[in-house]
Amino acid sequence: MKKFLLKLGELVCVVLLGLFIAYVCVQDNVSTEPFEKVKEAVVSVASADGLTERDALEIKKKLSLEGDEYTDFLCLSSDSVMDVRELMIFKAGDADAVRNISGKIEAYVKEKTAIFEGYAPEESSMLSAHILTGKKGYVLFYVGDSPEAVAAAFSQSL
């Protein structure tokens, strides 16, 4: 009897390991959710009032990101230089594209933070609390209030 239980226990563990591995493999598969849905979910939680929508030319200038490096995007930022709030959502495609975009956004944030460091503590604090995540073919970049809520909304919508 004991031997049977042992075998059963071992089998369950093997199955669980398999599930673990399978979960890790699929968790980053490209999401099938439509871009609109993700956009809505994020924008509803983000503090995006007063921000203007930007076009692809702006993206190219800010991040040196060409139009063919992503399939869909949303970029909101303020007209005032002192307002650091910003929201960017990219639908990228595969893991490489996600990495590429994330890298460029990281460099952009670093530069921006350097400008405000030492001069404007509120702004640089908000900048350093930014969210930058790449998941399931999407990239989210957000500077603003309650970044955790926005990140959660983003993850859940995927």
Partner: protein, 472 residues
């Protein structure tokens, strides 16, 4: 969680020690030890989950599975063939788990570049400490198979695998070494005090030494490699050599100290490796627990040195390639390990008679040069970067031998490097002491308290606090 952090020192550790030492069963020693094991297990799981909230489940799964395997092997003791099958099954499970979570990305990348494919695969994040706890679990089931150990209760076994002092960064503890202590241990105040002292020593090595010299190495490594003078390159690699030693041995000391505070004695993991006078000697002093593990569980089962020369050489190469691979999922680590394998073979077979005739100073210098070049390979992300660096060291990349920048580093880092080198070579340990016992105890206590305060000061103001061996 990292030992050298405020959260660990001022929150986790006090809470754990209080829970550990509160006496629930004053008259029953066995129950008291069981309670200690339970507290250790619970707090270790919290410790691990703090850094890996998801992968703590993987570790728990491994523990439960291998616990079953242990029993299974024991039940089939009469049937050696079946027993072996079960052992293989258990080893396979552990290796697959380790292999997937640590090496899958590396394997896919290598296949892609070798066969010019483009398989899309996002490698899983490496669960911290997986190399360490997997090796410990493997040592357990193999020892059960060999009949040298057995543990019927889950809690002590789980406590062995998860115990937070050595979970993240070693030393790798073989179950046999600790079995007795799991079942009964005594913690005298001397042992606890010794634990504190060794812990502070380790923390000082990591926070005061490794981080400082590591910052200089980072500065130098960010310079344009073609314009770096040979002297600067050497200073850089000396900094890295010191950094990785104090980082890793510091962490091992912290683990040993914490272990002692909890009543466990771990084996020494480092024994002044930079005093070694040959590669063979070096590896008897560096990461001793890892070499021991490979010796006991790979080298000896493969036949060790009781076979013909050809097989012996093959054994060594296999063991060292694996050692390299254990350190990281990249080709330069495998190359680093294999390089040492080759050198060991050379020492054993070709230089066996020549070496003793060379004056020990030259043997030491030669060993150190080899070790440092090895670290270049270890530290760089790619072969070409490592080769570029070595070229700069040897003045082969068209650079100057010495320049003003090298002088700048000597004047700003020099004193630190000298102090740390003396320490690494053991001069401070071997200093003659005043022969008054009470005086020694007082100065030790005061001295280490100051070191501790200094570490805390550095920790609060430090933004640069990496641990190099954390890829495991």
């Amino acid at each position: 969680m990292v030992f050298s952090s405020a959260a660990f020192l001022f929150l986790f550790l006090p809470v754990t020690l209080i829970l550990y030492f509160i006496r629930l069963f004053p008259s029953n020693q066995a129950r008291e030890t069981a309670k200690k094991n339970f507290v250790l297990l619970a707090m270790s799981l919290v410790f691990y989950a703090w850094g890996e909230p998801f992968y703590v489940l993987l570790m728990a799964l491994s523990i439960v599975f291998n616990y079953f395997i242990g029993f299974d092997i024991e039940y089939h003791r009469e049937k050696p063939k079946k027993m072996k099958c079960i052992l293989v099954f258990g080893i396979a499970f552990n290796l697959i788990s380790l292999g997937f979570f640590k090496y899958s990305g590396f394997v896919v990348d290598s296949i892609n570049s070798f066969f010019s494919l483009d398989i899309q695969f996002t490698a899983p994040g490496l669960p911290v400490g997986i190399s360490f706890y997997t090796f410990q679990i493997l040592s357990y089931i193999v020892d059960v198979y060999r009949g040298t150990v057995a543990q019927k209760r889950l809690v002590p076994f789980a406590a062995y695998v998860t115990m937070f002092p050595q979970l993240i960064a070693g030393p790798i503890v073989q179950y046999g070494d600790i079995e007795k202590q799991l079942n009964e241990r005594y913690i005298s105040r001397e042992k606890f005090a010794a634990g504190i002292i060794i812990f502070i020593k380790g923390m000082g090595k990591k926070v005061l030494f490794a981080n400082t010299v590591g910052a200089f190495y980072t500065q130098i490594s960010e310079l344009e490699i073609t314009s770096v003078s040979a002297a600067t390159a050497w200073i850089g690699i000396i900094c890295y050599t010191l950094q990785i030693y104090f980082d890793f041995s510091g962490y091992s000391d912290m683990a040993t100290g914490l272990g002692k505070m909890l009543g466990f004695d771990f084996i020494q993991n480092f024994n002044f490796p930079y005093t070694a006078k040959s590669i063979t000697d070096f590896w008897r002093r560096w990461h001793i627990s890892l070499s021991n593990w490979f010796r006991d569980y790979v080298y000896i089962p493969l036949g060790g040195n009781r076979v013909g020369a050809v097989r012996h050489i093959l054994n060594i190469l296999v063991v060292w390639a694996l050692t390299g691979m254990w350190h990281g999922a990249a080709w330069n680590f495998i190359a680093w390990g294999s390089l040492y394998g080759v050198l060991l073979i050379v020492e054993k077979y070709l230089l066996k008679n020549i070496l003793p005739k060379i004056p020990s100073v030259f043997r030491w210098a030669g060993t150190m040069v080899v070790v440092m070049i090895g670290w270049v390979l270890f530290s760089k992300e790619s072969f070409s970067e490592a080769v570029d660096y070595i070229k700069a060291m040897l003045c082969l990349s068209g650079n100057a031998f010495f320049d003003s920048s090298a002088m700048y580093y000597i004047s700003t880092a020099g004193l630190s490097i000298v102090i740390m080198s003396l320490s690494a070579l053991g001069y401070f340990a071997k200093m003659p002491r005043i022969k008054n016992y009470r005086f020694n105890v007082i100065t030790t206590a005061v001295g280490y308290t100051l070191v501790f305060l200094l570490c805390v000061i550095y920790l609060i103001s430090e933004t640069y606090n990496p641990f190099l061996y954390f890829r495991f």
